[in-house]
Symmetry: C2
Subunit: 81 residues, 2 copies
């Protein structure tokens, strides 16, 4: 069975996100002054062949730990559709 798994990789909450800060000041120059904070991470869609949703989730976790996320700077969240 084919599962579509979404992995969100975001910068750790304790860390400054310079890319987000740059985009925020861009939005403010465009007149969108009510946007107070912007944080930018990655959204990764995996198409995984697995027997069950649980197995697909485990594979996505392994992929995130080994390659997709850098635990020093990022955390990840997995959701299986």
């Amino acid at each position: 069975m084919i599962f579509f798994v979404q992995v969100k990789v975001m910068p750790l909450k304790e860390l400054l996100d310079p890319q987000g800060k740059a985009v925020m000041s861009g939005l403010q120059s465009l007149g969108l002054n009510t946007i107070n904070d912007v944080r930018i991470g990655k959204n990764i869609t995996l198409q995984i062949e697995a027997d069950s949703a649980d197995q697909a989730k485990k594979l996505a976790e392994e992929a995130s730990q080994k390659l997709l996320a850098n635990p020093v700077m990022e955390y990840f969240e997995i959701s299986v559709n």
Copy 2:
């Protein structure tokens, strides 16, 4: 009121995603052979001051159209938490 809005910006389905292809071959070298496809986009969290969730969503839409997404190569999805 403060709303947290998530904007997912992904490469259009018709287009090749070279970053995703590179990550996929990386995963396969790590032995994760059951992952058949990888697509990589951005996940952007906005903190918006607005009167209602609808208004926050509209502001996020405006931000996405004007700055966050490039409609030639990307589509975006908005969800308000």
